[in-house]
């Protein structure tokens, strides 16, 4: 492909690509994102190729490998165009059937269709499946249409037209103005207005400036940045180039965690192709604007998401926050003004430039505009990446898109914003997702993690879990974070073991308050969130653990007791055989008993006791009933 030298040449190419792809031509798209790959989607593509060849269809049917569609738990995900038929859990063995039936005759392959968990009804088309239907996929939507390794797919769908518009019809100032008016706020955690940040970098006196992409995503449950980078890297590059033009940068850096090999691979391919096509590099499309992009592969650490830590890492030093109160927008990478945004923020930029600030502002709430991608995980039926307008309620996300909770369980809380977000209780689920609303509730939009917790979740244990995670992620530089987290973990562990005191609750609150004020960086300042919100909304659970030695969710092992109900035990010996510590005494014809000293509370007996007997009990905070014998006794004596 020769280099494109003018916007007109790009447009000619796009028209040619559109023309070559007739709307009625069948196309099998196979998701080859990380999730589906792990489930064998690469083999599936080969199987489709072989099958098309076998059935003599290779020249009349296209195959496309795309990025993540967001519904990873149903992988491999396949969509057949032009009808928009969705198949899930597709295995290489299914390829023959799909080609023979759907491609040749239009017949559906029933077992690959989506089955609604509530009604049991089978749904066929993309637009009918609730998981997709209630989303608004501005940023993610192209993922299912584009082969990320092929720049022409992106160009065909209008890619790089926003860059053309910025370079040829706008000035740096008007681009900045547009992003500012749109009120695009950082999608990575802080929600800081991107336009303001850009302006600070642009106005900083140093003429050498950088634009940076944060693709570190330290939040373990979140993978939206990975999915965009894997599935549609050009939209990030285009956004970045537009940003560079606006702030006056000639160089950009993308920090991507090395644990995202596919994102790294697709990103390198995208940069190479964009350079080849003249969409990056010197004199882009003849505009006179030069812009190059470099990639930094970093070893992921939660704290690297913090901007100064990330820049320190790019410079080749240990990723540690800097103490200076000079914003990185003014003095960042190599002390030059540096504008850092995360992947999702950059990916929104081409849309804003193309469709305008007013379009963007028409979506969302007063203070939070546009759409946001959330990683919906935990105890919901449909897990995955969901993109919704800001202002959608948590309840709608969980119940309409997520399809409600698994096994008909009741919801207890949702943790938003990643490990340092807060836990929001059921009665506040009608709150809209919005930067300001969530922060008022003690949580945040953050990275966009949404962890759904059911009634079997102990909120004290959850707080302990997140605080412990954060203490492993702290860089350890500043005292309140390092030592504060250490103390918080110890106190919380004590409470879950039933050894806490009411004074411990005060200490938790006191220490959290100091940390949120005095820590050096956002990791430490926000770390107390999961603790403070559970203390606020689930205080009774803490008190219950401390005073009554009772864990209502039945999670905290130290507060649990297992016993065998003598009226139910049929002396089948199944539990005794499954107990790992031989804590269960009994024998043929003898009601079994549990030796409490030996029991490690693993729950194996409860799980293995046949459901029809239902003899094992798990209790917390109450004594074993009097009628439970301490030694095995003959069965018939009790059975009468």
């Amino acid at each position: 492909m020769p280099r494109l030298n003018t916007p007109a040449e790009l447009e000619t190419l796009r028209k040619k690509l559109v023309k070559n792809q007739s709307a009625s031509r069948p196309c099998i798209t196979v998701c080859c994102g990380t999730g589906c790959r792990a489930l064998g989607s690469v083999k599936l593509v080969d199987a489709f190729r072989a099958e098309l060849a076998k059935q003599g269809l290779e020249s009349s049917v296209d195959i496309k490998e795309t990025g993540c569609h967001g519904f990873c738990e149903k992988g491999s995900v396949v969509v057949i165009y032009p009808q928009n038929i969705c198949y899930f859990h597709v295995k290489p063995e299914d390829a023959a059937d799909v080609v023979a039936k759907t491609i040749k005759t239009g017949e559906l392959v029933d077992h690959l269709l989506y089955k609604d968990p509530a009604s049991g009804e089978k749904l066929v088309y993309h637009q009918d499946i609730p998981f997709y239907k209630y989303q608004e996929r501005t940023v993610l939507g192209d993922n299912e249409h584009i082969n990320p390794q092929n720049i022409e797919d992106y160009i065909q769908r209008g890619g790089y037209s926003a860059l053309v518009k910025a370079l040829f019809q706008m000035t740096p100032e008007s681009v900045l103005e547009e992003v500012d008016t749109a009120n695009l706020r950082g999608r990575g955690g802080d929600g800081f207005p991107a336009g303001k940040k850009w302006r600070t970098t642009r106005d900083a006196p140093d003429p050498v400036k950088y634009v940076l992409v944060n693709c570190d995503e330290g939040d373990p449950g979140a993978f939206m940045d990975r999915s965009i980078m894997e599935g549609n890297p050009h939209c990030v590059l285009e956004g970045l180039a537009i940003g560079a033009f606006a702030v006056g940068a000639k160089e950009g850096y993308i920090y991507v965690r090395a644990e995202y090999p596919l994102a790294v691979e697709n990103l390198y391919a995208a940069i190479r192709q964009a350079e080849e096509y003249g969409l990056l590099g010197k004199n882009i499309l003849g505009s006179g604007f030069d812009f190059i992009v470099k990639v930094h592969e970093g070893a992921g650490a939660f704290v690297s998401g913090e901007s100064s830590a990330l820049m320190t890492a790019i410079e080749g030093r240990v990723g540690e926050p800097r103490p200076k109160y000079i914003r990185t927008a003014i003095k960042g990478l190599w002390d030059k003004p540096s504008n850092l945004n995360n992947v999702e923020t950059w990916a929104n930029v081409p849309h804003i430039i193309n469709k305008g600030a007013e379009w963007f502002r028409s979506i969302g709430t007063e203070g939070s505009k546009g759409t946001k991608i959330f990683a919906l995980v935990g105890k919901v039926n449909n897990t995955g990446l969901v993109e919704v307008p800001m202002g959608t309620t948590l309840r709608d996300i969980i119940f309409k898109i997520g399809g409600g909770l698994r096994d008909g369980k009741k919801i207890k809380a949702v943790q938003t914003g990643g490990p340092s977000g807060g836990c929001i209780p059921e009665n506040l689920l009608d709150s809209p997702v919005d930067y300001d609303v969530l922060s008022k509730l003690g949580s945040m939009v953050g990275s966009g993690g949404l962890i759904i917790m059911d009634e079997e979740t102990c909120m004290v244990d959850i707080a302990r879990y997140f605080i412990n995670f954060l203490s492993d992620e702290s860089c350890g530089k500043c005292l309140p974070c390092r030592e504060g987290l250490r103390q918080l973990v110890e106190i919380l562990t004590r409470i879950t073991e039933g050894k806490g005191t009411m004074a411990d609750m005060d200490t938790l609150e006191d220490l959290s308050g100091v940390m949120s004020e005095a820590c050096l960086c956002a990791l430490g300042q926000q770390a107390p969130n999961p603790l403070l919100t559970t203390l606020k909304y689930f205080r009774h659970e803490y008190i219950d653990h401390i005073k009554n030695k009772h864990c209502e969710a039945g999670v905290c092992k130290a507060l649990l007791t297992f016993y065998i109900d003598p009226d139910k035990c049929k002396a089948c010996m199944i539990c005794a055989r499954n107990c790992p510590t031989d804590a269960i005494k009994g024998g043929k014809g003898l009601i079994h008993t549990i030796e409490q000293d030996k029991c490690i509370k693993c729950g194996a007996c409860l799980d293995t006791c046949p459901a029809k007997f239902y003899a094992v009990r798990k209790i917390s905070g109450i004594p074993i009933p009097d009628n439970v014998p301490s030694e095995p006794i003959p069965l018939n004596r009790k059975a009468e």
Binding site: V318, Y325, S471, K477, E483, G484, T507
Partner: protein, 197 residues
Amino acid sequence: MEEIKLTIDGREVTAQSGQTVFQAAAAAGIHIPALCFHEQLEPYGGCRVCSVEVVTGSRSKVVASCVYPASNGLVVNTNTEKIRHIRKVLIELLLTKAPASKPIRDLAEEYGADAARFSHDASFCVLCGLCVRYCTEVKKANALCFISRGTQREVTFVPEIASRECEKCQQCFDICPTNFIRANFEMAKALTFGTEE
């Protein structure tokens, strides 16, 4: 250098641009406690004991004065109840690590800090980084470094360099607030320096 004016604890104070709030306060005779600060070293911002409140409009935020730049018109409070409380808790955390350290005990006395409610983990080093930074910035020997992160963080000698440089220098021993670096050195010597005579 240009002259600037700021308000510290209600007093108008003159400072030089480029100075930190800590320096501006010190020049005006206003005492702010500090632990990881050292005149010869780049400010570090690790211990947070020098925290003060900076007021803008109706909002205030807590910042580490040893790294926060003084600027014209800035309003700073160094001794509010909130700040004293933050310092007290920070000092309690220091006490859990190095209960016998003289500078820390002095601070504890000044702020009425008592670490009884916390669990103790006396590892003696409070990770103020003075030794590492002194060795790097002043001596330029790089014989000391931090290893690991989070609660696992530690100061350690780099054996190849330390076995050559440290015996004759030992200057960091005097600036360590807990005396730990001396013990650490003896330990490192015995364990890792080898015995080439």
